[in-house]
Amino acid sequence: MNIKTAKYKVYADGTKSVQVTDTNNLEYSVPMNNDNTDYQTVLQWVADGNTIQEAD
């Protein structure tokens, strides 16, 4: 997953996920769970200086 953009999504129960769009314009809903390897990729993307947009 090569991340182009990332944005939070807030659910009815108040939890969040990260809505990722990759460089092929495919969209993913990535749970904020450290065991999820896609979320590890998101965290690395943030560590590289990128920012997750706030939810609408």
Binding site: N2, Y11, A12, S17, Y28, S29, P31, N33, T37
Partner: protein
């Protein structure tokens, strides 16, 4: 003539003295007797006949209890004696008298062992384990039967690519590849029961790898399923990896076990592709040594990656400092050996793989236990812990609240490894079972995942104008759930 000191040879066991013959100058055939009783020698060579003081040799034959000379002894000739060297000395060995030392190496052939005569007590401990320590194969989908995502993907240029379940390909150079599930109809792998394989084909070559570039096909095994390996202790087990492999590129290839968590510990093992375009069975040993037995060799008991089994298609020089068969803790630099080939160097190069099994113990091609064929259903179920796709059934019954959010309760085929990532190539549409409700869906998501039961709320935004309303149906949607390692 020197004297013989000792008892007479007629007193030695199994040497018999026969009655002397009487000659009449006309007969050539005579009856052999001992104490006037017919005597049957075991062969002509077992007899020593002396006539007129001369020991006869090669001039007579025996048949039953008669001897026939090829000349006619004269009537004046005298038979001085007949000795028979018999049972227990020359021709028949006494019972229980052959010692191990008297047997030559490899003297006992299969034909000399009676069918069903080898008992378990004759097999040394550890040569053939009575049972595997693992109930299910450590490698999932080793026969490449399950491919939930589809049977082919072309234009591969990135990492984390799947076609056949559980086998991930990382393209980390400047090549482009196609990965496909192949159907076997002939060949050595087919002959032993494999009907599917995974093929990685080079469609755009990269003949000049940068030092930090790589191409690898792998299966990552969940850590908590590998505690039986006892890595990080003095009881760490040996491992044997076996697989069927085919490539147009002959020569040295490398497969690596990579324990990636905590202190990375890796072991590359070389193997040879002898014949191009031919299925060959490879059996490779990864023996536990002091490095993997050290505490830093331990595999964490969790749901992360415990071990990566990596077929190395190409590695730049940053990754090729490993030593064949050695576990080391030098990071990624020891992923492979300097003999590693660049499979992506030429267009149309390929590797094809099936029948992958990872066994506890040290085996050879002669002793490796048979591949554990699972039913398709069991195989699929194990794969679905890491990935599944829902693309054929409509979902019934959801609630759309005051805004765009619409929530469905979804039960997965099984609990997944961890909270899955959701993605979709087609979100389909909501309907009342007759016509569409709204025109566009977006912003797929999931929450309240139940890790024990595999249920979650799947949420999607709709532009349908209704609020606080029941949504009867979600149709034509394709939703993928991934909890891959």
């Amino acid at each position: 003539m020197s004297s013989y000191i000792g008892r007479g040879i007629d007193q030695i066991d199994n040497i018999s003295t026969l009655d002397n013959l009487s000659f009449n100058g006309s007969l050539q055939t005579f009856n052999l007797t001992q104490n006037s009783v017919a005597f049957v020698p075991v062969s002509a060579d077992a007899l020593q006949i002396q006539i007129d003081g001369v020991i006869q040799s090669g001039n007579y034959t025996v048949s039953g209890s008669t001897v026939t000379f090829d000349f006619t002894p004269s009537g004046s000739s005298v038979c001085n004696g007949i000795k028979h060297f018999g049972v227990g000395l020359l021709t028949t060995v006494s019972d229980s008298s052959i010692t191990t030392a008297k047997l030559g190496a490899d003297a006992v052939t299969t034909a000399k062992i009676n069918d069903g005569a080898v008992t378990s007590g004759k097999i040394a401990s550890g040569v053939i384990p009575s049972t595997r320590p693992n109930a299910n194969p450590l490698i999932i989908n080793g026969d490449m039967a399950v491919a939930q995502r589809g049977t082919s993907t072309s234009g591969i240029t990135g990492s984390n690519q799947f076609v056949v379940d559980r086998f991930r390909f990382d393209e980390g150079a400047d090549a482009t590849l196609t990965m496909s599930q192949e159907t076997l109809t002939s060949g050595n792998a087919f002959d032993v029961g494999f009907k599917k394989s995974l093929k990685v084909l080079v469609t755009t070559a990269d003949g000049s790898l940068a030092s930090n570039q790589s191409e690898q096909l792998m299966q990552q095994i969940e850590a908590q399923d590998l505690q039986l390996l006892k890595f990080g202790t003095s009881n760490a087990v040996n491992l044997t990896l076996a697989f069927w492999y085919k490539s147009n590129v002959t020569g040295t290839h490398v497969v690596t076990l990579d324990k990636s968590d905590s202190t990375r510990t890796t072991c590359p093992v070389e193997f040879t592709v002898s014949s191009a375009n031919t299925w060959e069975h490879k059996v490779l040993n990864f023996n536990a040594d002091a490095t993997i037995k050290a505490s830093t060799g331990a595999i964490a008991n969790d749901n992360g990656t415990g071990l990566r089994v990596m077929w190395n298609l190409a590695y730049g020089s940053d990754y090729t400092s490993g030593t064949n068969g050695d576990w080391t803790q030098n990071g990624v630099s020891d992923f492979s050996t300097s003999n590693q080939q660049n499979i992506v160097a030429t267009n149309s190069n390929y590797v094809e793989l099936t029948g992958v099994q990872l066994e506890v113990g040290e085996f050879t091609s002669a002793t490796i236990p048979p591949f554990q064929f699972e039913s398709y259903g069991d195989n699929l179920f194990r794969c679905q812990r890491y990935y599944h796709k829902n693309d054929t059934t409509r979902w019934i019954g959801a609630y759309k609240r005051h805004d765009a959010d619409t929530a469905f309760y979804y039960t997965m085929p099984r609990a997944m490894r961890t909270t899955p990532t959701l993605s979709s190539s087609d979100l389909g549409f909501f309907s009342n079972m007759q016509s569409a409700l709204g025109s566009a869906l977006s912003n797929l998501g999931g929450y309240e995942y139940d890790a024990e039961n595999g249920t979650m709320i799947v949420d999607c935004d709709s532009n349908y104008s209704g609020t606080h309303t029941f949504i009867p149906s979600w149709e034509s949607q394709v939703i993928e759930f991934s909890a891959e390692l």
